[in-house]
Point group: C2
């Protein structure tokens, strides 16, 4: 699977070609949403957007290449919107909440986030994409915490950022799965996130931080 | 992948046969640990335990069937030890900590937990196994919370249990990955778990619970 060809056969240039590719992408996203990656195949995609399977293969070598392109575009969209938020003058917690709002907004716009994210978990060829995204997210969080005064050693601050990113991811996915992006446990988790962020910039080191979390 | 044959070709009865199968399983676990599921293949497994590939195929149709059997045994071991803990007379937090100790103990004994768990994420045919395990774990937690007095509606208590299970999983995996099963963020997360458990049995409903978590 690692050597799977994920490149588009050729980049679209003409308006008409672009339109076909967008139809393929939309159909893929819709099918992913309906039945997950397990039921996805190129025949079903071609059928759904009413094009000949040969046209599909003119652009994409396999279904994974379509999902790869979708995931790339979607992650790029997240990163661009994120940059705008990180560069703003908002406070720590306000930036955190703005990131949350942004992600929920993207979810509504892209509609299929959950299915796409799951596909990335299941298709080994997409793991690289996901890992690169995680690394960037963790780096961003470390920079944010440093900017707001966290002076922990790199190992500890990275561990906190990794925790924030991974639990954010799993709790948000679970909430979306339950049909409520901001359900009970997402709201509870958010309070916990706020507490961790504020403690991280207030405490000189992780020992003081840990002490302060006494149950 | 969903129709992949995961059954052993025949159940071992003789002592000598059992020994071969154990060698195959140990080799698979070791290879998983070294290179992950991506590099695992039946030839490498046969070579590692110094048996003919034909002998391997006499018992297992493919590598997934070996991983499936390993995962089944491992989850069964967890469930048996868990039952003993759940049936004890310990308090809520003490039971929680005993479960944690038990899992860390299994990890040391089975040595390869992380790799096996990741394999379950990546091999679609193993998802059913993982989902059944998650459902059981969540049910167990709901029963535990009820036993200790939580009287929330089923939807809310289940959401809490799902949160506890999934974040437990992702934080523990991350800690093991970093080479410290009880690293900084695991310890922080555990304090948060304790707080959630105690609030859940103390608060009449999830609204009071949420109020009490005010940051």
């Amino acid at each position: 699977m690692t050597s799977l060809d994920l490149k588009m056969r050729r980049e679209p240039r003409q308006q008409r070609t672009l339109a076909i590719i967008q139809k393929i992408e939309q159909a893929t996203l819709a099918l992913l949403k309906e039945g997950g990656i397990g039921l996805l195949n190129t025949n079903a995609i071609a059928e759904r957007c009413d094009i000949d399977i040969k046209s599909l293969y003119r652009f994409f070598p396999n279904k994974e290449a379509i999902v790869y392109r979708l995931a790339e575009q979607w992650l790029e969209e997240i990163r661009q919107r994120e940059q705008a938020i990180y560069q703003s003058d908002l406070g720590l917690v306000e930036i955190w909440d703005a990131l949350d709002d942004m992600i929920d907004g993207i979810e509504q716009q892209f509609s299929g986030y959950g299915a796409l994210w799951q596909a990335m978990d299941v298709i080994p060829a997409l793991h690289g994409l996901e890992q690169a995204h995680e690394t960037l997210q963790i780096d961003n969080m470390v920079v944010l915490l440093r900017k707001h005064g966290c002076c922990w050693p790199q190992k500890d601050i990275t561990e906190l950022a990794r925790y924030l990113y991974r639990t954010w991811d799993v709790v948000k996915q679970g909430s979306i799965e339950q049909g409520e992006a901001r359900g009970l446990m997402w709201r509870a988790h958010k309070k916990w996130q706020h507490r961790l962020l504020l403690s991280a910039v207030k405490c000189r080191d992780s020992a003081e931080f840990e002490q302060g979390l006494a149950d």
